[in-house]
């Protein structure tokens, strides 16, 4: 299969500019600079590139939302906050191929006449931030960033900005507030970032992987990229597989790869003769699937039909023998810990879910707790400023719907049949 991103990942030196250029790096930027700006955007639109940050919004369409009038400078923010449990693909790109991102963002900035880009990277990724810093310096030194890039007269300044430990700062408007030095509270929309974004300026926020696809699109053309994927989602995706499989890791696969194939062929199936119990397909926020539901293609539409989502394509494999109540409690801890706290339903709802799921797991559940959880989810979903409340409620609902008997049993027997452990 043709790969867009990972082709040279195995090469340790690919992260340095010389090696990167040895493989044709920055030629896409050179090509882009010779193209009319609209033609670049058109190529990305033809590529059918959908955002890889989780929401799957078509990149070309998003780029078109910038106001036509050029009186206010525009900003690009690269979302490198990767924090959705089960997701670890952007980190891989940044550590193995930082120049793919730098080149991609430079092309995007050129196409959109943006002179200032920030890479917002999660604070824990200290090493990756260092690698990016170095890559950015290399790019400056080689004339791919900075003033008068490749003699085109185009200037671009890039700043790597570190977060400081907050999953919510991956939500794009929280990213912007955090970048501005505020608490990471997501913003009310409208206005959308394309109108009022970072520092009040029109802003495009894109995920690391989304932008890293751009050089290939420019080199090979949008149509060819589109053809690598499926009808509604062009190109490849970095699918991350975690949990007790033979070969956990990041795999570049067609955007509509089959989930069973991912787990059993690509990742080699489960370890130690374990059996599959459940799969969270696209990061912890996406509704869980039972083992018998995984014959599904990873494209956005097929997943939606199953009531779940491709999300960040972070596949978490859950083996038989796992207590689903405990697994859900771990996730509920996470969302309660990460809620920014501004919207009532999310702040109180995530905390309440954590407590109720926690007491069920501890054998102290009450007969009406399941009903209570479902009702809380109902009161949270679609009622908040950002999608975190939904992100917490979706796993809760789906765990209850699909593994109801385990919850009932905890409540009935007043203890965990798995002995309160993984």
């Amino acid at each position: 299969m043709e790969t867009v991103l990972t082709t040279h990942f195995a090469d340790e030196r690919y992260r340095f500019i010389d090696t990167y250029r040895g493989f044709g790096g920055y030629e896409a930027l050179r090509k882009a600079i010779s193209m009319p700006r609209d033609a670049i955007v058109e190529e990305v639109r033809k590529a059918n590139l959908r955002g890889r940050g989780g929401a799957g919004f078509p990149a070309g369409v998003k780029w078109g939302f910038l106001p036509k009038d050029m009186s206010r400078p525009r900003v690009l923010v690269v979302n490198a906050d990767e924090g959705e449990p089960g997701t670890f693909k952007d980190r891989r790109i940044m550590s193995r191929a930082p120049h793919l991102l730098v080149e991609g963002l430079a092309i995007a900035c050129y196409a959109l006449t943006i002179h200032k880009a920030y890479i917002y990277i999660r604070g824990e990724f200290v090493r990756e931030a260092g690698i990016l810093d170095e890559a950015v310096s290399e790019a400056y030194a080689s004339g791919f960033l900075g003033k008068d890039i490749l003699g085109s007269g185009f200037d671009l300044d890039v700043t790597v900005h570190r977060g400081a430990g907050a999953y919510i700062c991956g939500e794009e408007t929280s990213t912007l507030n955090s970048l501005e030095g505020k608490r990471g509270w997501p913003r009310l929309k409208p206005p959308f970032p394309a109108t009022i974004g970072a520092f009040g300026l029109p802003t495009i926020v894109n995920n690391v992987e989304t932008l890293s696809d751009v050089p290939w699109i420019i080199t090979h053309g949008g149509e060819r990229f589109a053809a690598l994927g499926c009808e509604k989602n062009g190109g490849t995706r970095l699918v991350g597989v975690s949990g007790p499989v033979q070969r956990p890791g990041i795999y570049e696969l067609p955007a509509d790869v089959n989930l069973r194939h991912v787990i059993y062929d690509v990742a080699g199936g489960l370890r130690d003769g374990k059996k599959l119990k459940a799969v969270i397909p696209g990061g912890s926020s996406t509704p869980v699937l039972r083992a018998d539901e995984i014959d599904v293609n990873f494209d956005i539409e097929s997943m939606a039909k199953l009531g779940t989502m491709a999300g960040t394509s972070g596949v978490i494999v859950i083996p038989e023998g796992t207590c689903m109540v405990r697994a859900l409690r771990v996730l509920m801890n996470f969302y309660a810990h990460e809620s920014c706290g501004q919207c009532t339903p999310c702040r109180e709802g995530t905390g309440w879910l954590r407590k109720v799921v926690g007491r069920i797991e501890a054998g102290e559940g009450r007969p009406r707790d399941i009903e209570l959880i479902l009702d809380l989810c109902d009161n949270m979903m679609g009622r908040t400023i950002c999608a975190l409340a939904d992100a917490a409620a979706m796993p809760a609902q789906s765990f209850l719907w699909k593994f109801r008997e385990e919850f009932d049993r905890h409540i009935r027997d007043r203890k965990c049949p798995y002995g309160n452990r993984f």
Partner: protein
Amino acid sequence: MPSLTIDGKAVDVPVGTTIINAAEKIGIEIPRYCYHKHLSVAGNCRMCLVEVEKFPKLQTACSTVVTDGMVVRTDTEKVRKAVTGVLEFLLINHPIDCPICDQAGECELQNYYMKFGLHKSRFALEDKVRKKKVQDIGGQIVLDAERCILCSRCVRFLEEVTGTRELQFFRRGDHSEISVFPGRPLNNNYTGNLADICPVGALTSKDFRFKCRVWFLKAFPSVCTGCARGCNVEAFFKGDILYRYKPRVNEAVNRAWMCDFGRLEYKKANNARLLVPFVREDGREKMMSWGGLLPQVAYRLKDAVEREGPDAAAVIASPQSSNEELYLVRRIASDLLGTKNLAFTSRVPGDGFSDGFLIRGDKNPNSRGAQLLRIPGGPAFDELVVKIAAGKVRALLLFGDVLGDLTQEETAGLLSMVPFVAQAGTNEGPVSAVATAVLPIASVAERGGTFTNHAGRVQRFHAGFPPRGKAKDTIGFLTSLANRLGAGWAFDGEASVFRALAATEGPFAGMSYESIGSLGQEAKG
């Protein structure tokens, strides 16, 4: 102008109006916590969710701008479920200590959960998130962080109105807590407003704390007399005691705010009041009746004029007096006594602090009114003081409790040069300590009239209750005095005086109490 329907009622509103305000226009009150008309929209409490046709999700009425043809419903089952859901979420970590909460009675949490018939929380009380209880955070405010519903109004107020940012949210999720930084208490002159905007009992007034349950209080509209801004206030009282001022919204004057000094101005109506007429003879105070004292005052003024000419009498007017009062005072001085010795000063003891926001350097509510009514101020006052000091004034009628910025000693020294000083005042002070005759008059809560603020806006204040003790309404007192000086006036109350004044005084021409209304009207010139 977009037109839309809300719960089936049609309404037209200007472009840019949000649903919550469009609804208000037709009398539909959409529940809210974070929304406050005078602060930016935060949209975080999620109380104001409504159904909007064509939108699959409920929308927040506070942040959604209406579009033409929009169909909004605030009364559906879905909305009700969402709102009760939010209330329930708010209550799970709320202490529900209403019996000991000062906010009880005007608490938006209490109000809404009664309105939505929410009874008991499904949540075990024992594992509520605990936060700091009663905490003095400076200014006029006590904080109970446990009661906070994190609406962020206070944070926005301190960001957008005072710019001082003392209160912030710390931590996140359900551990988010409102607080000041240790050792950095509230440090601005508008802290009292925080208790007003806090929808629950998290920020309450130190001054009002435990003084009175709010449901025992009645209120009337008034105007703060603390400075020339003339902030519009609501005065709360029980019996003949004022308990507090709260700002009354007036976009042209004080928006929704007032300063901390003004907020405590109400105390003047309660404390150290002059409540009985008295004369001072050989250093001793002798109580008098109005009937006994008033003729004496009239006689002494007339006598001075008759014996030594009109300029042996003098009148010092007060910028604390209403337009109506000042008008009568001027006529008494000029028309009846015929003296040229009429003056006022805006100076008061103290530093005349002002800020670029509400607080004015002039600490009187009606200096502008005195000017517009052609009562000489500034140098005229200083000249009169010189005359008095030179012993040229034999009888003085003095309004107010202070004599400009003179100290107690200076006041005593100056007034000792006048054989007869009649003071019409409300409170004990340097003047009442030495005046020959003291005429206690009604406080601002006990009488009505208008003040003209620094910008020339004429604003009404009202009597909330009858004058305390033997204090008398000034209009009545001035009318009796004038009639004893031969005026033949038939004024009955401040309204009749204002009519007369509007008929003859240019700046007030064409004005009436009706046209002034509750929000005031600009005088001309």
